[in-house]
Assembly symmetry: D2
Homo-oligomer: 363 residues x 4
């Protein structure tokens, strides 16, 4: 099931950029969860096109409809079907894509894999697919918040070569949303915005890093051997369009430390087992240790640029592609809620798996 994610809280996304709608089925949602469409909508609004002058002006209201699984304001345990109609579809704008493969997009590989391709706006490979993820993630976030006070916070920590200082506290949602670039450090955010505008003016694009932190995760989530928490987080993040890397805790930089400096000594603090440092990033042996979970995701520069590019056409001839139309010069601001959504999907699934294993049996 290539379009499904999660073993117990299973989400299946469907829909193409310029088809009738995009959406998601959430199977395995616990019953009796209070839920309103407005809560889903709030998260979708954070990834919506046209939300600021930094992102694509494609006009999409992205209004969610919940067609099943809710009854009198609560989930019933039955699958939730959530969908968003595609409104601002301009199929004609994509005629060139029918004949030519866009560099560093999925056009060629989809053609090679399937022998057929819905070229309109990238079809299934469009980032509009992530609407379903964000909708499902909104449900997951609510469960985690109600069940354990878990908070998930992603933000832009580096854009191109502009890096924000490491936050000295768990960033608040307000700090992050204060700027359209979603970097909680105001001065850096301002520089990032300038950079986005500058590359847009060049018809070019930039990438960067998103950091995500999660607090109040209890010890014990994650499964050895293959379904380690960091393994599932890595998969979740690398399943997002435009991602090229993932690191947790000390990450790549940690490989420059010796073990004596890298190990996290244990101590008793606040009445429970804690670590003094957190190079582990909240996970040890694949299982949460109760510390803050902290990971970073690398997003490449947007593949769509408004400059002429060399490519080939479907007949196998050399061709030139002249990018035009609406696009995001940088995906990071809109990717922030998507990263949070995926983290929530991983965590709620492991929360349920732990519930299956440990809370049912009192041996």
């Amino acid at each position: 099931m290539p379009n499904s994610f999660g073993k117990l809280f299973t989400v299946t996304t469907w829909g193409e950029s310029h088809g009738g709608a995009v959406g998601v089925v959430v199977d395995g949602c616990p019953p009796r969860l209070p839920l309103e469409a407005a809560e889903i909508q709030a998260e979708l609004d954070r990834r919506r096109p046209g939300q600021s002058d930094l992102v694509t002006p494609r006009q999409e209201e992205d209004k969610v409809e919940i067609l099943s699984g809710l009854f009198e304001g609560r989930t019933t345990g039955a699958p939730l079907l959530m969908l968003v109609r595609n409104a601002d579809a301009r199929p004609g704008a994509y005629d060139e894509m029918k004949e030519k493969f866009r560099p560093s997009h999925a056009d060629y590989t989809y053609q090679a894999k399937y022998g057929i391709r819905d070229h309109r706006g990238g079809g299934r490979s469009s980032a509009r697919e992530t609407i379903g993820r964000v909708a499902a993630g909104a449900v997951a976030k609510k469960i985690l918040r109600l069940a354990g006070g878990v908070e998930i916070r992603a933000f832009v920590t580096r854009l191109h070569d502009i890096e924000a200082p490491r936050p000295d506290h768990f960033p608040t949602l307000e700090e992050i949303e204060a700027s359209p670039v979603r970097c909680p450090h105001a001065a850096t955010a301002a520089r990032m915005i300038e950079r986005i505008k500058a590359v847009r003016a060049e018809g070019d694009s930039v990438g960067g890093l998103i950091e995500c932190r999660v607090r109040a995760v209890p010890p014990g989530l994650g499964e050895p051997v293959f379904d380690r928490l960091e393994a599932d987080l890595a998969k979740a993040m690398l399943s997002l369009p435009a991602t090229k890397g993932f690191e947790i805790g000390s990450g790549f930089a940690g490989t420059l430390l010796k073990g004596s400096a890298h190990n996290d000594p244990f101590e008793i603090r606040e009445g429970r087992v804690r670590t003094q440092t957190n190079h582990s990033g909240g996970v040890q042996g694949g299982i949460s240790n109760g510390e803050e979970i902290c990971f970073r995701v690398a997003f490449k520069p947007t593949a769509t640029i408004l400059q002429p590019q060399k490519t080939v056409d479907v007949a196998g001839h050399a061709a030139e592609l002249q990018g035009r139309g609406r696009h995001d010069p940088c995906v990071l601001p809109r990717a922030v809620p998507i990263v949070e959504a995926m983290a929530a999907l991983v965590l709620v699934d492991h929360w349920m798996r732990q519930g299956a294993q440990n809370q049912t049996f009192k041996f």
Copy 2:
């Protein structure tokens, strides 16, 4: 199934460091594959303790037994059960671990998750678990080689801060195996060996980066949306002990490029669609594009060190742990075949999934 990996070529590992044996079941192996125990053994010998003076001197022959699934030298389509007996078990050597949580190991998290813990040598969290992965990976590698001439080659590219120059060709197995540190650049390998010996003398440890390249993968492997090839590779790598990061193609460094420099232009070369550069790392939109797949994995410094460390005991008191005994001051040399094995498991699974979808039906 936390101990299983793969949807069609499914491996399930089992066993603890100091239990009776460790091993693996491979379910879904195609029938009629010629296979001998010696081929499995050759890969196990590459991860075996005691293979050089750089690694733990634990004396384990790690001799594989194949108990099912083979008949007259060929697989039958039935599950393969492969096991390795634990020989050099010294349970007494681990008595201290019974009472104290080793920093940056899985002792505390296993205890928190399960309420019980086989402390002997780390039990299930021991890297001996990877024996099953390597055995299954040897089968996967052979399938890929016979089916499509696919070659998978991992090597140490950076150890601590000692980095090898980027290879100008696809490294040969001989180049890699020429040095016990498994870096194909001989001069750098010599420096790496000195570093390992130096930190070992200090009772300390180091980490680094392993790079893995795969060639001859046909276009079309990998599934949108969640089971992208890079997503499954990321999960596979982050499921390995001691890993903290994964990047594919341009990876983290690629985020410093603009889109105009990062995009891989298409051209016709050797009669087929090729890219001029390979920032994508052989995967676009989650699907292989026929170029070399190239990714890197960050391994932290070994958590076991021979220096005193602060920790807490199971009763919740502050304690000091004095590491001793046999250990690897650096896991990278022995991790090379493990990385290859995991890459092979991902690829053979996607190969079979593509077979299911595309080759059965002629519409």
Copy 3:
């Protein structure tokens, strides 16, 4: 994923009887399959309410919309989302069900399981859920027909105690659809219709047996050990509302034969290995042997009856329930296309699994 079925051709149904819509996601559908909504609609029309005077007069057009996965008349390999709006919802008609558990329905067990229940028309437990199965099954049937000329034919073989003679040929669709009761033996069909009208007049209900035959299945479909073809068929059938039993080939009656009479001798016929008899029902050791697959499913009498019944209310008091409203006095006529759909889902999934395993590798 309780609402999903199939490992490679995976269908997930969603929706409640009186919610916004019911539908299905089909994930794993092979690309390039020619497909039109009209083909889906034709199957839905066979299970539609109001299609004859034997079934519930609930007025539902059950018109299918395909929102994703199709492009220019062909599947793309992306998920198909198909939905049917609920039109003739009369929530008020079900107020009594809010307070009282209907005997032999799912009201009590859903309440016990979830602690919440969408009581309107049975909510998720309504047979309207099977709309998604029939829509997905229509796709599966087409694949099987195009790929291998496979034909699936179900029909009513016994209604209450009225049993049709064993057909002497593979029944045609025309023979089955000639009567609203879907029994291909015209004289028996007439008697069945009388029986349904008689029990309806009593406010009562009846059940019976549906037989299903499948021809042109190649040898080799089905997997040992747990995913035997008959095991998956049994699960598929027992997952349908109102089913109480399944038998394949000689079934329960075969237990009265001795082995010497029951065994199916092999012979060479039409140039290939055939059996002289077919007590095996087309499956041996869990794998198709190329003979006609033949199984039967027992459906209990409809639980909804228009007579007063003893029950309890949600507060735990004894109560009486007076059935009223629209219902089917016998589910069998409308269940025929549903049985076919489920058989198609099982077979196409195993067809794909066999493709994964056997056709990709040429050892």
Copy 4:
């Protein structure tokens, strides 16, 4: 994963009749379960060959070894590997099977599916495969007993045409084990034994029905839509060698009742919601209702008989097969513990799924 069963309590069996060993991996077993090899052995002894003069005299001690997952007498949450060595292998006795397909066995279908076949004693299709199921089932039974006092009791209710009267109480293990035929009604058991001896003298075989009852299952186990409790039970039973049918509650006979007689009225009894009758067999809408679960399984007569049979050989020529050697003239006595094991696997899996969904979250 054709050799795996269960979503959360996942068992994977492996091994062939005349290979090195047969066994099972149990992944997902809850931690801290007290467990000893003797408990597994007790169940294996009930399915062992040579246990009475009614069954095959193949001499197999079937002694279980537990190689992983246990620590100081308790499960750790890690996978359990249990194996049984094959002792009395007489490969030469099966040379005829190499060349000729045994009627109503899996010889031909395995050859057709895989293009290779371990013919020795049926290889993977041998009923020795069920050793792994019984071992895993013993663990499942213990969990269910400790967690909820659940008792599972299977017995032979009809052998050939000899039917036992319906028991007026939940049969005790002692009553069932009192006779080697495992029918709790002593007088009927004696007649069954005579029948088995008579058909064995003819070189023939017989089948029959096994009934299974389960008590103390709490309301709420089972999942809509596809993973209904009866659907998973049906799959479990039809996955056993030699089974041809499954029915639950009123089963096939219930189709002869009208709805007014078949419905199970609710009442309050013993302080909770109960049904007055149990035509539902303990399951409504796919979910347990707290009543006794009751189902029956049809086993065909053993395919191996000691009479000459017509068949074809692997070269496609007509041939005659002269059965000889050791076999069971009736599989039912030894199938009783296997049916119980499969029922336990289904129930423990659904118990864990319910734990995941309902007990983790307090909305």
